[in-house]
């Protein structure tokens, strides 16, 4: 489904080149102050005018359709939409049946039997992360004083990556990267055993972001080369504080009160300016494909605020459920 969450629940809709993208948030507690201004900073962070991202001048102002009255959440479903502007559909015309490698063009075509909106990736577009960022703004208010902070760890294997981005731009290529996320000031006891472990919920939500192909909590894949005597986080006080944090703040699927830490890998954007030789379903042969238009060199640059948003949404759900059992 296009929904996620148990009692704080997101439902997302829209296509890249349709009139709007949007989200309905069900289960927002009443009485949370919400103004249009609250959204602007995180929306701006998603669209950095940096080297490496497209320089579209999108005026991404949210419109609130429901769920807010006199600047406070009402408790009823909160729907936010964003108009899609200045899109040039002709950029995508030559893609039909010459599906772009790495994109959802082929799989969407199969899944939806050719009825999907192919323009700009349609419903599979990264544009859909915009309403998620908006939901995150609401969720961050709910989880206070807990904070979520994500940042770039490396791009193309480098901590200092501006030069790599310039080079990739010149080569009409794109770059992958790694984002790290830390949740501070989090209570213990969130998450469920087994199917709704905190790792399960966070991973589920985060893998919904286009381009994410891996996630690791705490020491993550390094644990494969560790011994238990090294990996175990020894408790040092009554709050469950540990000397190390190899578990990433989650034990048995439940938050321990230590910082929740995880890292995700973002693949290099699939749209590149270079010629690619790939099967053309129309001509039934492998042919050169040139993807025109603007392309992000590195979407990892946009991802941190999206990771924060979806993480805050998962935590909102978990905190509300924990409160039900308090």
């Amino acid at each position: 489904m296009n929904s996620f969450g148990r009692i704080f629940r997101l439902t997302i809709f829209g296509e890249s080149h349709g009139p709007f993208v949007g989200i309905t948030i069900d289960g927002v507690p009443p009485g949370i102050k919400i103004t249009i201004e609250d959204f602007l900073e995180d929306i701006k962070r998603r669209n950095p005018y940096l080297k490496g991202t497209t320089e579209r001048k999108e005026f991404d102002t949210p419109q609130i359709l429901s769920g807010v009255y006199n600047n406070y959440s009402t408790g009823a479903p909160l729907t936010i939409i964003f108009a899609n502007q200045n899109q040039n559909s002709s950029d995508y015309n030559n893609l039909n049946f010459h599906f772009r490698p790495g994109h959802a063009d082929f799989t969407a075509y199969v899944k939806y039997k050719g009825f999907n909106d192919p323009r700009g990736g349609g419903h599979f577009s990264g544009r859909l992360t915009l309403p998620i960022v908006a939901a995150g703004v609401v969720a961050k208010k709910i989880i206070q004083p807990t904070t979520v902070l994500a940042n770039i760890v490396e791009i193309y294997g480098k901590n200092n990556y501006d030069e790599e981005i310039t080079k990739a731009q010149q080569e009409k290529d794109s770059l992958g990267g790694i984002i790290q996320c830390t949740v501070k000031n989090i209570v213990s006891g969130l998450g469920e055993p087994f199917f709704d472990s905190l790792e399960s919920l966070l991973a589920h939500a985060i893998f919904s972001i286009p381009g994410i192909k891996g996630i690791e909590f705490g020491a993550g894949f390094k644990l494969a080369s560790m011994k238990g005597s090294q990996a175990n986080d020894l408790f040092i006080n009554e709050n469950g504080k540990t000397l190390t944090n190899n578990s990433g703040g989650i034990l048995g699927g439940i938050s321990s009160g230590n910082d929740i830490c995880f890292r995700v890998v973002v693949k290099p954007p699939s749209s590149i300016g270079q010629v690619q030789h790939t099967y053309n379903w129309k001509n039934k042969k492998i042919e050169p494909l040139i993807i025109t238009g603007r392309h992000d060199v590195c979407i990892a640059l946009r991802i941190p605020v999206i990771i924060e948003a979806i993480t805050a949404c998962v935590l909102s759900d978990c905190l509300l459920i924990a409160k039900a059992y308090s």
Copy 2:
């Protein structure tokens, strides 16, 4: 919740030292041949009498409580339980309030306000993976001719690991490892955009397995150091077959028909025979803890069949939903 899946849905229950662990599978198609014998091989694979695992002689024979009639699934909920035998509770007596590092003892205590069953980890025990393996046996029948195969890639960083295990046993320590899973003969079009991407569903299910701390699809974390021109999988025929498989068989959250490939990291077991200095909530100070009883040196040895099981369950759900829209 202790449930997972949309129309093929698992609900798990039981504690390590309670009378039974079990699972209810709702949404099993009627008419699937199911006998007790079908379960034995996978159950045995979960309990390898290898170096590195405990040598409990558990007679883990499933009892089918419902949902099977004359050796065929009826379509009604299928419940399978396993008796817990020969458990020695006294092994765990000294753990109270001197919570074991790396385990869920502390977080379960907080979450359940001290009412959790602490014996052997209670509901958080790895013993709960036994009913998951049983559910996997049913799911593997449903997804035919699709196959799921998981195996050990490395233990403590080595492909050839028997010696490492012997050494760790002698050191009363434990080892982590990496498991790889491959799904072959899978149709394209499974999974949903955004919140129910195939990566989301698989990761959600797999992180419910105790000890898993990371997952990566296709080229995974290597994508962080790749360029788009390297990472993109070029299509080579009308079935969507690609030259490479860096995407792990999933594009835009939807299966592409190429093999689904992912790897997971299994942490070293937290129960080790060495003395650990960790906070004792009773005495309010850091004290040496000795965990008695038998311990797995490396649970990664048991994990492949569990990964296969949960993967087959996710795919069963996706295949049934895809059929609804066929």
Copy 3:
């Protein structure tokens, strides 16, 4: 939640006096022809310019925000909104804290701690049934050749009720009524045992319509005075056709292939022009309340098309799930 359905799933949002009311339909099969014109007839049926309903000239034209491309459903979430026009909020100004009897004013205030939008009932308004009618238009296409037809059985106890309505209008009063719904050409095998019996699903959905206070299937409450020998529907052919239909086409929660028949009671609208003496939370005493503005004398007149819509939505979900197991 403000969502309903398992794989064909509705999420509703909006307030009476907010900018829009709307609905997101997830799980629509791709390839269904959908144009704005398709919606107009049912929308008009919901707003009959009859005696007994308010004569607002609302131009309720749906706007499709997503999920339709080139006049066909894409398979992605389909969002439809309706602008709220020509509303006069001042009609409702004197209602604050002098909560209207029979309305959700008091309960919404309690539930949402005073943050609910009180204008025109806010999210609890009958206006929210407009997007449900729109969803029904889509659902009716999905369930073809099955048809759903609802009509008025009686108003204020009379089959011939125009005179009663005129009288009630003059008395500034309102009237209740009964609606009957019949589903024809339905396959057998829909619904689930126990918790998702077809009666359960239909009742759940139908009680979401404001003003419905009872539902009975087949012979309904008359069964209380019947013997088994009278009530049992004897089978007469291999399709399961029965001589009588006291079960309303549902046996053991599952459709039998006979017409599904049920009746619902619609309460008289709670907004009446007469003075009502009811507690005023502001003055802390019982005081006369006069509700100004236009009021429906009998909302039962509007309800049939809404019942049809929600019934078609439930059946769409059931049919898709049945197809998953076909």
Copy 4:
């Protein structure tokens, strides 16, 4: 699905003539005192040794498989099973393909393609209400001090019905009835607008009980013949207490704090001792059917405690969710 509830969630399993029937309750708050003795009274009420019910001497003692430790709920899934004893399958041998009128035999056969367990109705048996009664015992503890009381209003149209039952027994016939349920001491603010109105949730749950064919809240079907000026419940104090209770304690889908009142109709049991002429799928003609074995003359006699149980389960879920937003 065979599950119900959002955070207090039931999953039911079992067949009439299988080894066990049972239920898993997920989301039970930890720390609730639970002993086997707690269940006995309600279980006994479900099986009245009265005229009109079968006199099976079933020793229906619950076995707790999980979720209770030292007589307190742990917070983990609570599974309760009941052994099926002394069943005589031969009673049902002649029913194959001569499906019993009024029963789920035909619809279950269609839905499950002939793989359903037909013995005693299989999964569709009234025996499945036994685990629901057990879940109700747990739920009644959770909702304290709220109480739920259901009782028989009439059998075959009579308040004083013992004579009718004797007569029906002699005639080898069966009788329908009406049950009323009242929830006292309930807080206001439970339930959700639209799809999870309290009427929706209660009706959904109650229609899962075999034999229920109608439900009405408050004045119910009488509202069809009422005017708004009669039907409106005028508020008389600051707690929302009303002069009348035609709304059944629910306004806009949300509890008002007044008693929740509803009535349900129970059909006459479909198994009767009289000969019935009904289609035989084997012989392809209408033939006399004789159903041997013991039959309840009136299952309405057993239903009150089941209604109470399922009502308490719905309220547990609503109360926990309300607490999440408190």
